[in-house]
């Protein structure tokens, strides 16, 4: 079942001379883990802003085409109606934090839904723990580090338990181990609770192993999409500037040198190491 359906979308920001999204159609199934990548400035962030109606309701500008999210056409819906279905984690956490304490920021969306105090307390603690910031709950979100702010933004969205979580480079300020933990939490929510995830990332080495649907954008359009394994075999996508994981590159280099270790192209270091161990173990 489709949860996001975008057809023939063209969007131009107010005052911009050319469209940021230029004829884009995309179908996302419920429960998908979608990874969106492409050169900076290709329209990834703009696309994310359409999922909860920030485009066009907040940014205005000119929009053509149709966007249906959770069965509703966003053009007739307010962003706060869509917020029940879609949680968006922005690239720059400073743009989304505003409360006096971390836990108030995390509770804000729930208060607006009119949730009971007890239930809210449970949800907030659950989200703070998942994001690894329970100890920071009484600090001001503006006093904590950039990486910690990103966790607050993620916790605020997790607390809402939306059907769809959209994350725009959500861990760029985080150290690698913290980033990996956040991705694991999101992957677990996707696998266990069927939450649809849309993740924008340049770093495929960290993230492609989670995705079942890879979307490569360039110049406001989708140029490739499909199964990540199939796409990473395609030489064209490296030409657009997509960073292929080193595990996959190593596999390709070995194959080109006449050493083919497996039929299946590896997406992670674990996969290629297992393949190599099978072939090379005496």
């Amino acid at each position: 079942m489709s949860i996001i359906e975008i057809s023939d979308l063209v969007y131009t920001y107010p005052g911009a001379s050319k469209p940021s999204i230029d004829g884009l159609s995309l179908n996302i199934e419920k429960g998908d883990f979608v990874l969106i990548t492409g050169p900076s400035g290709c329209g990834k962030t703009s696309l994310c802003r359409t999922f909860n109606g920030l485009i066009p309701h907040f940014y205005s500008g000119e929009l053509k085409g149709q966007i249906i999210v959770a069965g509703q056409n966003i053009s007739g819906k307010k962003t706060f109606d869509l917020a029940k279905h879609v949680g968006l984690v922005f690239q720059n956490p400073e743009n989304q934090l505003f409360a006096l304490s971390v836990e108030k920021d995390v509770a804000f969306g729930l208060e607006n839904l009119g949730m009971s105090r007890d239930e809210m307390r449970k949800r907030v603690d659950w989200a703070l723990n998942l994001a690894g910031i329970y100890d920071l709950r009484e600090r001001s979100p503006h006093e904590v580090s950039g990486g910690q702010q990103q966790r607050v933004a993620i916790a605020s969205v997790l607390a809402m338990q939306p059907e769809i979580i959209v994350l725009d480079e959500p861990t760029s300020f985080l150290d690698p181990l913290s980033a990996e933990r956040i991705f694991e939490v999101i992957y677990k929510l996707n696998q266990e609770q069927g939450i649809t995830v849309v993740l924008v990332e340049h770093r495929l080495d960290l993230t492609v192993k989670y995705a079942n649907h890879l979307v490569v954008m360039d110049k406001g359009k989708i140029c490739f999409e499909g199964n990540p394994r199939d796409l990473l075999c395609n030489e064209e996508i490296s030409r657009i500037g997509v960073g292929i994981p080193k595990a996959t590159l190593l596999y390709k280099k070995l194959k080109a040198a006449g050493f083919d270790i497996n039929k299946q192209i590896p997406l992670s270091s674990d996969e290629i190491a297992d393949q190599l161990l099978k072939v090379l173990r005496p």
């Binding site: 900076s40 760029s172 080495d205 050493f259 161990l277």
Partner: protein
């Protein structure tokens, strides 16, 4: 040359961010500073241009103690690109942003024009020359911040997370540029979490944990030490991860380079065949 001697630094809330750091950065060094969130990396580099002054200990930049001069004087030699470009950008157009420091340093009009054009072209920003930096994407804004510093060709370049929001092609361009600066004996210090970028650049790596330097060495040694990295909340680069898992095969474990990885595996395969 930048010399730090037993530098301690506490913020106003009495949190001690640096707990005795001694280090010499020589002209022409290329250094990556790594460590977990909150380890003190940004606090540390802010001592290089006097934005922060030590609570105790000393920092000398080219022989001058930072407490005895101004940030403006120090800024003439050291170009800073901050983590979040929004803290650094303020002009109405990308072109003005890049020209700003050049104008302040009193370059003539012709030189300014030449440098701005070069920086726009180098960072793939020419099409945005007359655009407001605030209309650009996150990755593009980061490149504007970088362009505004590269344009005036400082002797020392300090980059806080330069690869955030950058695609593979931009990262590769940045790497090549840093290599050119190296050839010109310029000093480059970058704070980064990007282990893949570090493994491609192969700099001297300094690991900071809890306000102290816990390791200082070549990338190949530090980025293959899984225990050390884990304590700093850093993961091994992908090639090192692969070779750690391949340890039962008796292959060398200290490999971070893709080409070297290929050579080692092919020669192992030949032996087995």
């Amino acid at each position: 040359m930048i010399t730090l001697k037993d530098v301690h630094f506490s913020y106003a809330n009495n949190i001690e961010a640096l707990k005795g750091i001694s280090l010499t950065i020589n002209d022409g060094d290329f250094i990556a500073i790594m460590g977990q969130n909150g380890a003190g990396k940004t606090t540390f580099i802010k001592h290089f241009n006097g934005l922060l002054k030590p609570s105790s200990g000393t920092v000398h930049v080219n022989g001058v103690e930072t407490t005895k001069t101004s940030v403006a004087m120090l800024a003439r030699n050291i170009g800073f690109v901050f983590q979040n470009p929004d803290n650094q950008l303020f002009s109405e157009t990308v072109e003005d942003e890049i020209a700003f420091a050049l104008k302040n340093f009193g370059f003539d009009k012709e030189t300014i024009e030449k440098r701005v054009t070069w920086a726009l072209d180098f960072l793939s920003l020419t099409q945005y020359r007359k655009t407001s930096p605030f209309l650009l994407s996150g990755g593009e804004r980061k490149r504007v911040a970088l362009a505004s510093v590269l344009a005036w060709d400082p002797e020392t370049l300090v980059l806080d997370e330069p690869t955030i929001g950058q695609d593979h092609e931009q990262k590769e361009k940045l790497r090549q540029f840093i290599m050119q600066l190296q050839a010109k004996k310029k000093t480059v210090v970058m704070v980064t979490h990007d282990v893949e970028f570090v493994s491609e650049c192969n700099p001297r790596v300094i690991l900071i944990r809890d306000g102290k330097i816990v390791a200082d060495g070549i990338a190949k040694d530090i980025l293959t030490n899984s225990k050390l990295l884990k304590e700093s909340s850093i993961v091994l680069p992908q090639i090192a991860q692969i070779f750690t898992k391949l340890s039962p095969l008796g292959l060398p474990a200290d490999i971070i380079d893709l080409d070297e990885a290929e050579t080692v595996i092919l020669s192992k395969a030949k032996k087995e065949a």
